[in-house]
Each structure stands twice: as structure tokens, then as C-alpha cells.
């Protein structure tokens, strides 16, 4: 379906560029929202190097790796859906596929959270990992898990928004009401959430594994 061109744009291409530019500016502010958490991580890694390693070994490497693969595959579906020559019907299927993969990611993440709560790794008063060690060491581990839960939960929130965006656009595509720009914008947001996870994965799961 052709998009209506608003009065202040000279052409449809210009309108699409403005929308994409707006999404990129929004994503830049999102990067700054996550920035302080990454800086907090830098602080914990530099001030409590051993504790960060000990805490990271408590995370589930297999599920974390599986989740990374899930998210990368969902991104592929989004990228394929946003190809300019894609038909609305197949684009809708691809969007549903990435929404399903996003939900699978959230389910696996929830499973990990359950294991971590059971192992007393949630950084509240009950924080008591098996290898807590000296108070300063336990404190460093707790700080790592504060960041682990804050970063993964904020990421999961963003992913949930991405799944919702996928479903809304897929529904509109099926009814012939969506425009190519909408698939493009949902895709950009999705890939941003993917890029975040690409950095979270080594930082949270792969510290001093050997």
C-alpha cells in the first residue's frame, strides 16, 4: 500500500528517510539509556576482577549461547521481512517468526532467572552463592548480579516491546494496512536490541570461564 505523503515532505522517499532518521535518533538515545549500566559493569570488572569472574561462572553458558543464537536468527527474519521487494504476506510470516523467536528468548531467560533465584543469586538480602567467600568478594559478586539482573531485565523489556511491534505490524500487513516503512522501523528497533545482547553475552556469560 502506498503511504500518504504529508504536506511538508517533497516525496515519499524523503518522508521514509525522515522516519528512519527519527528511529536512528531514538536508538541513539536508547544506547545512552544502557550506557550507565555498561559503565557500572566497567567499574565492577576493574574493581572486583576475581569476584566478577566467580559471579559470571554462575550464569548458564549453554542457555546464554542458545539465546544469542535465537536472537540472531530472529534478526535474520526481520532483515528478510524488511527487504524492499518482499510481498506483504511473506513479510507477515517472517515477522511472526521473529516474534515467536523473541518469545522463545524470553522463556529461556525466565528459566535462567528461576535457576538463579533458586541458587540465591538474586542480589537482595538473601544473596548467598555457594562460593561467596570473603565479605569483599561476596560484595563484588553481588554487584555483578545487580548489573546482570538490571541489564538483562532492561534488555528483556525492550525485547518484549519489539515482539509487540512485530505482532502489530504483522497484523497490519495481513490486513493490507501496513507500509514498508513500518516493517523497516520495527526491524531497526529489533536489530538494536540484538546488538545490545551481542555485547551483553560476552560481558555477562563469558568472564573467566576457563
Amino acid at each position: 500500500m502506498e503511504a500518504p505523503v504529508a504536506a511538508h515532505f517533497a516525496s515519499r522517499a524523503q518522508q521514509a528517510l525522515a522516519a528512519t532518521f527519527g528511529m536512528w535518533v531514538f536508538l541513539a538515545t536508547e544506547a545512552l539509556l544502557f550506557g550507565p549500566l555498561f559503565f557500572g559493569y566497567l567499574y565492577v570488572r576493574t574493581h572486583f576482577p576475581e569476584a566478577a569472574g566467580a559471579a559470571s561462572r554462575h550464569t548458564d553458558l549453554v542457555l546464554g549461547t542458545l539465546n544469542t543464537a535465537t536472537l540472531i536468527s530472529a534478526s535474520l527474519c526481520m532483515a528478510l521481512a524488511a527487504q524492499p521487494q518482499r510481498r506483504a504476506r511473506s513479510a507477515a510470516w517472517l515477522l511472526w517468526a521473529s516474534a515467536a523467536l523473541g518469545l522463545a528468548f524470553l522463556a529461556i531467560k525466565g528459566l535462567e532467572y528461576r535457576h538463579e533465584f533458586a541458587a540465591q543469586l538474586f542480589p537482595d538480602r538473601g544473596f548467598a552463592p555457594a562460593d561467596a567467600g570473603a565479605p569483599a568478594h561476596a560484595h563484588g559478586m553481588q554487584l555483578f548480579f545487580v548489573l546482570y539482573f538490571a541489564m538483562t531485565a532492561l534488555h528483556a523489556l525492550h525485547l518484549a516491546v519489539g515482539v509487540a511491534a512485530c505482532l502489530v505490524v504483522a497484523r497490519a500487513l495481513r490486513r493490507g494496512r501496513a507500509r514498508a516503512e513500518q516493517v523497516e522501523l520495527a526491524g531497526l528497533y529489533w536489530h538494536f536490541v540484538d546488538v545490545l545482547w551481542i555485547f551483553l553475552y560476552p560481558l555477562l556469560y563469558l568472564v573467566e570461564r576457563a
Binding site: 541513539a28 545512552l32 568472564v207
Partner: protein, 109 residues
């Protein structure tokens, strides 16, 4: 499947191989190089997503500028904030309780 679709699938394969490489290398004893390698792999993966999935490779300069501005701003803020943490001693504030200063030195109530 046309050429553009094929290149996207190839990028996906490359991303999965890089994921396997970073998970595998994390299990080797490389000391500090583990982190360097993992972050380098993450940077390459992020670049692949940005250039191909997010199409920065062939997009308008304005979009590349917006993407770059995020990284540039983060770099400035990281630089300023880490200079603060690297050069100052942390003194406890008078209102902090013993538990706040040494969270695990005292038994839980």
C-alpha cells in the same frame, strides 16, 4: 531466493560462526586475552548487524551520522566518568550505615 536475501543469510551464518568462536574461545585459558577476544568478536558481530541487517552500508549519510553520534557520545561520557573513578579515592559518607559500607561483614538480621 535472490541475491540480497542470500547475502543476509550469509551474514546470519557468519554471526553464528562468530558466536561459536566466542563461546569456544571462552573455554580456553588465555588470561586477559579471553576478554579482549570476546569483545573483539562482539564488535565484529555488532558491525555485521549494523552494516547489513540495519543497512548502514548503503544508507543515507544522515543515518550513519546518527548511529555514529551514539558511539561518540558514549565514548566521551565513558572517558569523563572513568577519569573520575580512576583518580579519586572513595570516602564513605557520614550517613552510611555499617551495613552499607561493608554489606557482608555483618550477619543478616
Amino acid at each position: 531466493m535472490n541475491r540480497q536475501d542470500k547475502s543476509l543469510v550469509l551474514v546470519w551464518v557468519a554471526l553464528l560462526l562468530l558466536l561459536a568462536a566466542s563461546a569456544g574461545s571462552a573455554l580456553l585459558r588465555l588470561g586477559a586475552w579471553n576478554s579482549v577476544l570476546n569483545l573483539a568478536v562482539a564488535a565484529v558481530k555488532a558491525a555485521l548487524v549494523l552494516l547489513f541487517f540495519m543497512r548502514l552500508r548503503a544508507s543515507h549519510k544522515l543515518l550513519r551520522l546518527a548511529a555514529l553520534s551514539a558511539f561518540a557520545t558514549l565514548a566521551v561520557l565513558f572517558g569523563l566518568a572513568s577519569s573520575d573513578y580512576a583518580t579519586r579515592t572513595v570516602y564513605p559518607a557520614p550517613l552510611q550505615t555499617p551495613r552499607q559500607l561493608a554489606p557482608h561483614a555483618l550477619p543478616l538480621q
